[in-house]
Symmetry: D2
Subunit: 324 residues, 4 copies
């Protein structure tokens, strides 16, 4: 009897590795300005998490010659299902290899998206164990809330640039069981963006058309705040810190999330966001937006800044060195 | 090969039928003060929904000799799974019967909780189809947001009183596949409360120990707001309307949700809430609170008002007439 | 002994008359979308107020061949001081005339700003007297809060276009006793904007350089919300209503207020805003911004949309008909 | 020609000296948990301010054998007016003495309220001069916003216990020119509370009836937040820090402010608050609340906790040592 991936087999986005040519400055920014917490270090990486992330880390910062994404890892809902999913990928001709347990999680199967992004599936995970002043007053939270910096609550989603959005969308839908929630499809049928979810959130990963010629590039990584007021407060903190705010705060039409985009010292775009809708309907049909609709700008009319369409990491002039 | 219910088989809480001895006043309250939208009427019931509920209705108000809950209905994720679940209930000796399609949904299997609450499982559902001024500017939302009354976003959860919380908890966990997220267990092992989820929310249904002798009573039904500011605004609206606010706004320790409780004209307790946490970890273990911990009051120290423990509907003196 | 106007002699901005070529549509918009309350009507005007305005009206909508501002009226703190102020204006060669008591207030002295805007000073005022369902639960508020439309709290400030910002600034400072709080002065000494306050708010009136050749034009009128969340909610309401949002929500550098600009059906620009700072220091010195500083955009980097500098009412092509 | 104090002669509440038997712990609390900034130290005092306070300090913490208030200081709007006001106090038989310039301000006239609280009037003030990382990006703010601890925006008001509320009310109204905004007067004419303002805020100082027999005691000192969301966030921070929250967050009927009360390590009650109304009407009449009205609890029905009526500093059993 054959297994086929279905919605819910991937439990959630686990962690994302980000390359930075300025590791020390990036780490300082994520700790002091964004307010993440350091979980540990290996030779060339620093591992971090938001205060309400249950896992030992959700962000891996790795020193590199350039900026960009190292790999994107998803936690599968059980060990059995992990074996099933890897088997299914193999059956479908997807090459990959198992990596031994490393910082924060057990064995992971690494493979590539149609666009070349490194992806991982894993099940075994290390959990954050609070000590001393980190022990929360509320045992249903992983850590005491610390009002330091922006202090986002948890990892939310990753957005990857892709030359072939459609191929990525079908890959994540058909081989990984994720739900397509929203799409941008231009009149000629050209897919410009796809939003997919492993959970009831409106998206956990998104693919946006890369206007350059490079492959496997990174658009942004997002941490979630509890409220829009928290996002407005984040804008004040970034401004006072001299961090470049690319656009926002404003509301996305897609996902209805409240957004704020900025560049960390290594050059990668990050977002803090809040709100949006949850999907309860098991029969949700993708909402498809046309070119004309997208020309209206964001939810309240803000025109999307041009860099949002053109800037990705690594910069195209600098193809960078990707991990093997 | 035998089916066993697992987490996710129930898609979500679908709708709740509430009895009211003052149907007309209750309907007026839910439309004008709470800001729900009427979807239709049958002989003795009025059907309503919040603006972002995708289903045709999430609340059924039924004229009755007394207050209380009529039935609680859950939507199952597919027709196949509905058949599986009903089969499993039958195998386990749970009596029930199929009801024909009625307002808002297709055939439903009706049975009773260990405490006697009427429950339903169904799959086929009618969706809200916006017309005229209800058509939203955003096609990823079911209806245009209308700033009328409190205007909650969607149905959130139901809380039922039970003489035997443990029996209800095990019933929903083992026969319906729901996740136990939090519990109150007193030192002698007595279960005082149980919170369960069909989704990644911290709860979709809760059982609270009934201090009276009646069975199958109702504690409250909750609609979700987008923000805590919206809950504060709701408090102003209720106050200016002369509606009795029982307690709040304040933050629950359990679920970390921001709450506000009030009584509708028929005497039933309702809540509007916001916030709380989402559960990403597929291996979530129930958080169990002791009597000592609960004695500390709510999250910021507010002592729970005594009526919260004693008031349910129908009033105990008035055992009411339950639907057959 | 000679009187000289000092800070506090003008109590506050009282009301503003706005011309509209579409009186009926404008009235419908202000009632149903903005959520103002109608106080009464005269032959060609409709009078309105926000729910927490103590005066009988703060907005007078007058049918006219074109859009623009009719007059701007300030309440003086006492009858004696009104006489003093008018005497001082006369001594300084300012021409004007007394108008008899009319809807909402007693005798008013009408004169013109250096740019030709009609201005009024008055003391005697009619107060809003709530009746029936308008009677508030809290006697320290003038009216029950009604969650209808955007529902701003009170009138906040008016912004007028001027060919000679400096002349207007000095007129309001030296002849009317207002405090200059902030200014935009370009490198060549050219004054591009001036913000002045009669109260401890960061501004009650502002003058912005008119890039056209017309005189006495109107930039915008602002109503205040209680919170930034209320402004975000207003953006949703305007969007769903199809109202053109010109810019925002975002934070002003000047005044640090959170803003949202839109056009009412008559073509006039209105704003809802929140926040900002109060001035406690009696020796406050104007904060002067340079061209270079203003080129950085608004507080979080949003570039000011070009229409904000060019669009005023009445449109320049249509010089309109001003009241005599 | 005789001077009589009028509204506006006192510019604002300047600073308050608080006694603490645990100076070191109190200082640590105000810096790390409340998020105030230290401005300097003298032998037995530490001076602090909120990030948007323009003055060099608004709080003076003084080591003492007990808790309570040292003195309450108001800034007068000009040097001339200060002389006028002191002359008027002298004419009216109020004894006091001039103190030389000290930390943060110039010469001050010290005298006592009818209940014995030490009061000061001064005009010359030191302003906070930001250095290095404190320099704000916005020159209309005194300091860069630092997201450390609760981080209130500015000093708001002080509440003093009094045996004779009426005497204090008349003293501040008639001898200091302050506006009576709200009152609690019981049926027998007994004054239980009085709220007065030097500014357009709904109050800058309040007097509450002391149920004990001591005189000159302290009820609480309040710092203002920008939003109610900030107050909710403060509740999280206090809770996670283990600070005792006495009551709130909730909305006051009086002043319509959103409140949160807690005890600092020295035993004094402090508040962080937000919102409320501004008074624009120069003819504002005091709003007088009856015993029956006050029995309804706070704005949304929360019953005032009993300690709020009985707890003041210093504790009555410990009359403390007041500065001479």
């Amino acid at each position: 009897m054959s297994y086929k991936p279905s919605f819910g087999d991937i439990a959630h986005l686990g962690h994302v590795e980000i390359f930075t040519p300025r590791l020390q400055e990036s780490v300082a920014f994520f700790k002091d300005v964004l307010g993440l917490h350091e979980s540990g270090r290996t030779e060339n990486s620093v591992y971090m998490r938001a205060w309400a992330d249950y896992a030992l880390h959700t962000l891996q910062l790795t020193g590199s010659a350039t900026s960009g994404v190292g790999h994107v890892a998803f936690r599968v809902k059980s060990a059995e299902r992990l074996a099933d999913m890897v088997g299914y990928l193999n059956e479908n001709g997807i090459e990959g290899h198992w990596r031994e347990a490393e910082f924060g999680h057990g064995p992971a199967f690494r493979f590539r998206s149609p666009d070349g992004h490194a992806l991982e599936l894993y099940y075994e995970t290390d959990r954050f164990a609070p000590k001393g002043h980190q022990v929360p007053g509320f045992r249903n939270l992983p850590q005491r809330y610390s009002p330091h910096g922006i202090a986002p609550k948890r990892l939310d989603h990753v957005n990857l640039l892709a030359n072939d959005v459609k191929a990525c969308r079908l890959f994540f839908r058909d081989l990984l069981g994720m739900r397509v929630t929203e799409q941008i499809v231009f009149d000629e049928g050209e897919e410009m963006g796809a939003w997919l979810a492993a959970t009831m959130k409106s998206y956990d990963i998104a693919f946006t058309r890369d206007h350059g010629k490079a492959r496997g590039r990174f658009h942004h990584l997002t941490y979630a705040m509890d409220s829009r007021e928290d996002v407005l407060r984040a804008a004040d903190i970034l401004t006072e810190n001299g961090t470049f705010i690319e656009t926002g705060p404003h509301k996305h039409t897609i996902g209805q999330t409240f957004f704020l985009y900025f560049y960390e010292p290594g050059g990668n775009r990050f977002e803090v966001g809040a709100g949006g809708y949850l999907i309860f309907d098991p029969d949700w049909q993708p909402v498809v937006w046309s070119k004309e609709e997208r020309s209206k700008g964001q939810a309240w009319g803000l025109q999307t800044v041009s860099t949002f369409h053109t800037y990705g990491t690594p910069p195209i002039e600098d193809p960078g060195k990707k991990e093997g």
